[in-house]
Amino acid sequence: MSSGIPLQYFLILATIMFFAGVYGFLTRRNLITILMSVELILNSVNINFLAFNRYLYPHKLEGMFFSIFVIAVAASEAAVAIAIIINIYRRFTTINVEDVNELKY
C-alpha cells in the first residue's frame, strides 16, 4: 500500500506551503492575495492531516474527516472574507490593507 513516496516528502511540501502562506500573509498588501495566502496555510495543514493519517494510522479515518471539515470551513471563511473585502472596497475604494488602518490609537 505504501507507494514510493516517503512521508518526509509530504511534510516538506506542507512546510513549504505553510511558510509560503505565512510569507504571503505578512508581505502582500492586497486583501485578496492575503486571503489566498490563508487558503495556502489551510491546505498545507490538510496535506499534513492526510499524510499522517495515511502513513501512521491507515485503518482509521479521522484525518480524512478533519481535512474535509477544514475544506468546508475554508469555503465559508472565503465567502465571509470576500463579503468583508467588498464592503471595505465600498467604504475605502481600495483593498490595500495598509490604507485600511482606522482602528488604531
Partner: protein
C-alpha cells in the same frame, strides 16, 4: 376626642400651591397666580382658625391643662426599629397660636403683595416662593419631633434666601441673600450638633417624650459633665445657637438688616413676623428641658436676649433707612421675647415669662407686620428707603399715616394697645427674677418709643419735602391689610393669653401690676416726648447731639462695626492663616501628586501608542513571531 386629621391640609395646600405656581404659573396664568396663591392661603387661614377654635374651646382638658395632640403622623425614614424619623402634626397651645399668627400675617401679606408686586417681573415666582415659605413655616411649627423641625427649619432658610434674592439682578440683593443663608446656616450647624447630642443622650427625637417634665428623657445626661456643665446643658446651648441664628440675636444678627434688600412684603412676613421668631418658638418648644434640666442654658437665653435688645435699640436710633430701623427694632423685640423665656420657669407663677414671651410674639407679629407693610406703602409712594427723603407725608398718605401711628403707639407700649399688655408682662416677669435684666429692658422700652417716633415724625411730619411727583395713597389691596392688621394690633392685647398659652397648659391667674405698668408707660411717653421735640419740626437738636456724642454716634451709626469685625476675622485671619495654607497644600501637594501620576501615565502611553498602529499585518507579524517563539520554547527548552 376631636378629629384633627384635616390639619394635614394646612401643610399640603401651600406645598401643592408652590408646585403648581412654580411649575405651571409662568406658562399658563401669570396674571392669575397671585389671586390663586391668595385664595390658597385664605383656605388654610380659615382651617387654622377652625383648628384654634376647636383646640382652645372644645378639646378636652386633663387636670385643667391643655393636652398635646398628635393630629397626624407617619414614619418617613425607618432606619431601625427604634431609630426612625417621622413627619407629623403636633397641636399644643403654642403651635396652634403660631398657626394663627403665620396664616393671618401670610394672608395679609399675600393680599398686600397683589398690589405691591403688581407688574413686577416674576410675579408668579414671588407667589410660589411665598407659598413655599408658608408651607415650611407651618411644617416647622407643627413638627412632632426635633428632626422634622430641623428639616423645615432649613426649608424656611431656603425660602428666605430665595425671597431676599428675589431681585436677583441686583448685586446687593444677591449679596444679602448669600449672607443671610451662610450666617444662618453656620448657626444651624450648632443646632444640628445640639440635636445629635440631645438625641444621643435621650434616645428620642419626639417632642412629647422629650418635653414631658415627668418623663425619663428629661433626666438623661444631667450627671455627665463637660467643662463644668452637664451634657444636657451643652446640647441645649447648641440648640439655642440655631435659634440665635434664625432669630438674628447677637452675634448672628448681621444678616437681618441686609435681608431688607428683599421686597417689602417679604420683610414683613419673614423678617418681622414669622421666620425670625422661629428661634423663640424653638426655645418655647423645648422649654421644659431648658427650665428643668438646663437652667444655665436658660440663663444664656436670657442674657443673649437682653443684650441683643439693647444693642439693636441703640443702633436703631441712628439709622436712616426706614426698613433698617424696623429690622433693628425687630431684633430688639425678639430680644425681649428671648429674655422673657430666659427668666421664666416651668409651671405655676414662674411661668409668667413664658406666657409673656408668647403673648409678645403674637402682638409683635401683628404690629411689626403692620409697620413693614406701612413702610412698604411709603416706599411705594416716595420711591426711596431713606427718611431724609421724606417728610410731611401725612397729607398724602392718610390711611398709611393712621395705621403707622397705631403701630408706633403699640410698639411704644401705650395702653390700651396690645404692645402695652405683652411688654408689661415681660417687664413684670423680668422684675420678679432678675433686677439687672429688668433695668436693661426698662431702658430699651424708652429707646424703642424714641426711635419709633423718630421714624414716625421724620416721615409724616418734619420738614416739607418737595417731591418730584405727588405721592399718592396706595391701592385698596395694600391699605385693606394695613387696616386689618391695625385692628389686630389694637385688640390683640385683650386675648387672655394666661388662660390659653402657658408653660404647662394650665391657667395662670395674673393681673397688670401697676407698680410696673405705670413707669413703663411713663418711659414710653418720655421717649415719644423727646422724639417730638427733636423731630416734629425740623430742628438742629439731632445734629447737635450727634456732634456731642461724636464717637458714640459714629459707632452706633456703623452698627458697632460688627460687620467689619466679622470681615476682619474671616478675611484677615481665617482666610489668610488657615484657608490659604490649606489651599496651598491642596494645590501643591495633593493636586501635584495626582497631576504627576496623570502626566507620567500620559507620557508613557504617548510613547507606546505606536504599537496600536491599525496595520493588520504588523499585528499578524507579532502574533506569528510569538507563536514561533513559543513553539521553539516548548520544543527545545521545555524538557
Amino acid at each position: 376626642m376631636i378629629n384633627f386629621n384635616y390639619t394635614i391640609w394646612i401643610l399640603l395646600l401651600p406645598f401643592l400651591m408652590f408646585l403648581f405656581l412654580g411649575l405651571a404659573g409662568h406658562k399658563y396664568l401669570p396674571k392669575l397666580s397671585g389671586i390663586l396663591g391668595t385664595c390658597g392661603l385664605a383656605i388654610i387661614t380659615v382651617l387654622s382658625y377652625i383648628t384654634a377654635y376647636k383646640y382652645f374651646f372644645t378639646s378636652e382638658k386633663v387636670d385643667g391643662a391643655y393636652q398635646k395632640i398628635i393630629a397626624f403622623n407617619f414614619t418617613w425614614l425607618q432606619f431601625t426599629d427604634k431609630l426612625h424619623i417621622d413627619i407629623g402634626g403636633l397641636l399644643d397651645p403654642i403651635s396652634v397660636m403660631m398657626l394663627v399668627v403665620i396664616t393671618t400675617v401670610s394672608f395679609m401679606v399675600h393680599i398686600y403683595s397683589l398690589g405691591y408686586m403688581k407688574g413686577e417681573k416674576g410675579f408668579e415666582r414671588f407667589f410660589s416662593f411665598l407659598s413655599l415659605f408658608s408651607f415650611s413655616m407651618l411644617g416647622l411649627v407643627l413638627a412632632t419631633n426635633i428632626f422634622q423641625m430641623y428639616i423645615f427649619w432649613e426649608l424656611v432658610g431656603v425660602s428666605s434666601f430665595l425671597l431676599i434674592g428675589f431681585y436677583y439682578q441686583k448685586p446687593s440683593a444677591v449679596r444679602a441673600s448669600k449672607k443671610a443663608f451662610i450666617v444662618t446656616r453656620f448657626a444651624d450647624l450648632g443646632f444640628l450638633i445640639g440635636i445629635l447630642i440631645l438625641s444621643f443622650n435621650t434616645r428620642t427625637f419626639d417632642f412629647i417624650s422629650l418635653t414631658n417634665p415627668a418623663g425619663t428623657a428629661i433626666a438623661q445626661g444631667t450627671g455627665i459633665g463637660f467643662l463644668g456643665l452637664s451634657i444636657m446643658t451643652w446640647s441645649m446651648i447648641f440648640v439655642f445657637m440655631g435659634g440665635v441664628g434664625k432669630s438674628a440675636m447677637f452675634p448672628f444678627h448681621i444678616w437681618l438688616p441686609d435681608a431688607m434688600e428683599g421686597p417689602t412684603p417679604v420683610s414683613a412676613l419673614i423678617h418681622a413676623a414669622t421666620m425670625v421668631v422661629a428661634g423663640v418658638y424653638l426655645v418655647a418648644r423645648m422649654f421644659p428641658i431648658y427650665a428643668i434640666a438646663a437652667p444655665v442654658a436658660l440663663n444664656v437665653v436670657a442674657y443673649v436676649g437682653a443684650f441683643s435688645s439693647l444693642f439693636a435699640a441703640v443702633i436703631a436710633c441712628t439709622q436712616t433707612d426706614i426698613k433698617r430701623v424696623l429690622a433693628y427694632s425687630t431684633m430688639s423685640q425678639i430680644g425681649y421675647m428671648m429674655l422673657a423665656l430666659g427668666v421664666a420657669g416651668y409651671g405655676g407663677h414662674e411661668g409668667l415669662g413664658y406666657i409673656a414671651s408668647m403673648f409678645h410674639l403674637f402682638t409683635h407679629a401683628m404690629f411689626k407686620a403692620l409697620l413693614f407693610l406701612g413702610a412698604g406703602a411709603i416706599i411705594h409712594a416716595v420711591h426711596s428707603n431713606y427718611m431724609t427723603d421724606m417728610g410731611g407725608l401725612r397729607r398724602y398718605l392718610p390711611i398709611t399715616h393712621i395705621t403707622f401711628l397705631i403701630a408706633c403707639l403699640t410698639i411704644a407700649g401705650i395702653p390700651p394697645l396690645s404692645g402695652f399688655f405683652s411688654k408689661d408682662e415681660i417687664l413684670a416677669a423680668a422684675f420678679h427674677s432678675n433686677k439687672l435684666l429688668f433695668a436693661v429692658e426698662y431702658a430699651v422700652a424708652g429707646l424703642t418709643a424714641f426711635y419709633m417716633f423718630r421714624l414716625y415724625f421724620s416721615i409724616f411730619w418734619g420738614k416739607e419735602t418737595n417731591y418730584h411727583h405727588e405721592p399718592h395713597e396706595a391701592p385698596a389691596t395694600m391699605t385693606i391689610p394695613l387696616i386689618i392688621l391695625a385692628i389686630g394690633s389694637v385688640v390683640a392685647g385683650f386675648i387672655p393669653f394666661n388662660k390659653l398659652v402657658t408653660s404647662d397648659g394650665k391657667i395662670l391667674e395674673s393681673e397688670i401690676e401697676m407698680m410696673i405698668a405705670i413707669p413703663s408707660v411713663l418711659i414710653g411717653l418720655l421717649g415719644i416726648g423727646i422724639a417730638y421735640i427733636m423731630y416734629k419740626k425740623e430742628s438742629a437738636i439731632p445734629d447737635k447731639l450727634a456732634s456731642i456724642f461724636k464717637y458714640g454716634y459714629k459707632w452706633a451709626y456703623n452698627k458697632f462695626y460688627i460687620d467689619e469685625l466679622y470681615l476682619f476675622v474671616t478675611k484677615k485671619i481665617i482666610f489668610r492663616y488657615i484657608s490659604e495654607p490649606v489651599a496651598w497644600f491642596d494645590r501643591h501637594v495633593i493636586d501635584a501628586t495626582m497631576n504627576g501620576i496623570a502626566s507620567v501615565t500620559q507620557n508613557v502611553s504617548f510613547r507606546i501608542r505606536g504599537f496600536q498602529s491599525g496595520q493588520l499585518q504588523k499585528y499578524a507579524f507579532v502574533f506569528i513571531t510569538g507563536a514561533i517563539m513559543l513553539a521553539i520554547l516548548f520544543i527545545y527548552l521545555w524538557k
